[in-house]
């Protein structure tokens, strides 16, 4: 029975709960049991009680919440030792809105420390394992969210994406993940990494579920002045073909990109052929500045992070290591509380912003960002969407890239340009290579979420991806 419950999609379960066919408590308990037997290290905290099942589009649906979202009275660590034991006095808007739509928090899920990483190996609470192969990474930084959904430990999750942190783990775990337009979802209560890039989005088993979750969390919020919401809300996708839609393949992120595995290329080419079969028009396009995305990103994001993480100083929350004076207390607390990657990014960002280097690094990176956004605008004059592989590789082995930060950063090659331009993008599972999932990325102009979801839905049906990982 529990097995069957766990196979339901969010939309399917919500419908059965509404009609009275399925008990919300029974459904929640099935997942609580699954989460309690978590062998993937995905959960950092699991709800003991179901709490009230609300009414609404997500009535009775359990949601796994990335541990970067503040939850009143519930531990929130951002994957860092520096916040061990922290129970925030308030709740993130995205989580509040999920609850208002009827959802219940199933648990808080593991992540790379402060969302910095592409493998989930940077968590202070140990790496998350990929449900397809427990010797491999689930991707990151929303690795716990992706592994929990793919591994059937949660029906859906929310995560955050700064340079690919929703889309890349979704691709590596064989599920759907969407990064909305910057401003679609409130960032209030989402522990800040790089404020000009961070966005909250859904990780789900199918496109319809992604639309449901996005529809619940989007919206303007007085607590985040950069939030705008999606005008008219999010509709459930229904398109059955791709007739009249045009798809541009940027050669810099596909045919000419270095480091894309041959297996990933094969699945990508097959998927492109399928887009054409469905009536979509496909041709090559260019994003000449996209190859500079990684360089710009690894200046801008660490620079913003170095300022955002200044607040973790042992004064107001989290741990403290005592020192003889105030400065020593700061320095020792941060030395003990932060992991290696977070320290590396704080150093990189502080250096890029320091006197004499600001214009050479931060100033130039902001100009590259403008050029990348212009490249996309130009492409969208001729195409409805841009399509690329989501990740250059399938899930790699644990430890394979931990000694080489630059190799790890290059995982984000195809996903970084979109947040730099602020535009929405989705990753949908498109096939297997060497028995591991490959994601297809579909990006569109700002606030084209409905159109992206609609096209992805048609493609998803035609792809018929039914991969269920071994561990599920």
């Amino acid at each position: 029975m529990a097995g069957e419950l766990i196979d339901l999609t969010v939309a399917g379960a919500a419908e059965q709960i509404r009609s009275g066919e399925l008990s919300a408590d029974e459904y929640f308990d099935a997942y609580r049991e699954a989460a309690a037997g978590d062998s993937l290290n995905a959960f950092l905290w699991t709800a003991e009680e179901a709490g009230e099942a609300g009414e609404g589009p997500l009535g009775g649906i359990p949601v796994a919440v990335k541990d970067i979202f503040c939850t009143n009275g519930i531990p929130t660590t951002a994957g860092s030792k520096i916040l061990e034991g922290y129970r925030p006095p308030y709740t993130a808007t995205a989580v509040r809105k999920l609850r208002e739509a009827g959802a219940r928090v199933l648990g808080k899920v593991n992540m790379d420390e402060f969302a910095m990483g592409s493998s989930n190996e940077n968590s202070a609470y140990g790496p998350v394992l990929n449900p397809w192969d427990s010797g491999r990474v689930p991707g990151g930084s929303s690795g716990g969210s992706a592994a929990a959904v793919a591994g059937r430990l949660a029906p859906c999750a929310i995560g955050t994406d700064t340079g690919g942190s929703i889309r890349q783990p979704a691709a590596l775990c064989g599920i759907v993940g969407m990064k909305p337009t910057y401003g679609a979802v409130s960032r209030y209560g989402m522990i800040a990494f790089a404020s000009s890039l961070d966005q909250c989005g859904p990780l789900t088993r199918d496109v319809t579920d992604a639309a449901l979750i996005l529809g619940a969390v989007e919206g303007r919020d007085p607590c985040d002045s950069t939030s705008i919401g999606i005008e008219g809300g999010v509709d459930l996708p229904k398109r059955e073909d791709l007739k009249g839609l045009s798809f541009g393949i940027p050669k810099e992120l596909a045919s000419e990109a270095e480091g894309i595995e041959s297996g990933v290329k094969e699945v990508f080419e097959r998927t492109v052929a399928l887009i054409e079969e469905l009536g979509g028009e496909v041709s090559e396009t260019e994003l000449p500045h996209a190859p500079h995305g990684i360089s710009a990103y690894y200046v801008l994001a660490p620079a913003e992070a170095s300022a955002n993480l200044a607040r973790f100083d042992g004064v107001r929350y989290g741990m403290r290591v005592n020192g003889d004076d105030l400065t020593e207390m700061y320095e020792e607390t941060r030395a003990e509380g932060f992991g290696a990657e977070v320290k590396r990014r704080i150093m990189l960002g502080t250096y890029a912003l320091s006197s004499g280097y600001y214009e050479a690094y931060y100033g130039r990176a902001q100009r590259v960002r403008t050029k990348i956004a212009e490249d996309f605008s130009k492409a969208f004059e001729s195409f409805d969407f841009v399509v690329t592989p989501t990740s250059p590789t399938v899930a790699f082995k644990l430890g394979a890239k931990t000694d080489d930060p630059l190799a790890m950063y290059l995982n984000d090659y195809c996903t970084v340009p979109m947040p730099l331009a602020g535009i929405p993008a989705i990753s949908i599972p498109s096939g297997l290579s060497e028995g591991l999932p490959v994601g297809l990325q579909l990006a569109g102009p700002a606030f084209s979420e409905n159109k992206i979801l609609d096209a992805s839905y048609a493609l998803e049906r035609a792809l018929g991806f039914e991969g269920i990982p071994r561990a599920a």
């Binding site: 129970r87 401003g183 002045s225 500045h289 690894y298 741990m319 502080t350 320091s354 403008t370 050029k371």
Partner: protein, 94 residues
């Protein structure tokens, strides 16, 4: 590209104590990353406006109405060393 002295200077700015081993590793890792980042210096960016906020937004206003903030006790519960209704810290000049 980045030497030991620069690492120590930046660590000071970032209020981060690094062990000797971390200083060595940081110098080589940051140099490697910056070497990759240096590619953007080859681009012609004259006259290109920098982007700090990617979606065009007008001023965002709200009515200036006073409302209660969080309870002091609740906030202090998360503090490592609360005392007398405040955050206690070591002296800046011990």
């Amino acid at each position: 590209m980045i030497d030991r002295e620069q690492v120590l200077h930046v660590a000071k700015l970032a209020r981060l104590h690094l062990s000797d081993e971390e200083v060595e590793r940081m110098a080589s890792e940051l140099s490697g990353i910056l070497e990759h980042v240096e590619h953007i210096s080859e681009l012609d960016l004259d006259g290109v406006e920098p982007t700090s906020h990617v979606i065009a937004l007008q001023n965002v206003f709200r009515p200036d109405e006073p409302r209660p903030s969080w309870e002091r006790d609740e906030v202090l519960q998360s503090a490592p060393d609360p005392a007398s209704g405040a955050f206690r810290v070591p002296s800046p000049q011990a």
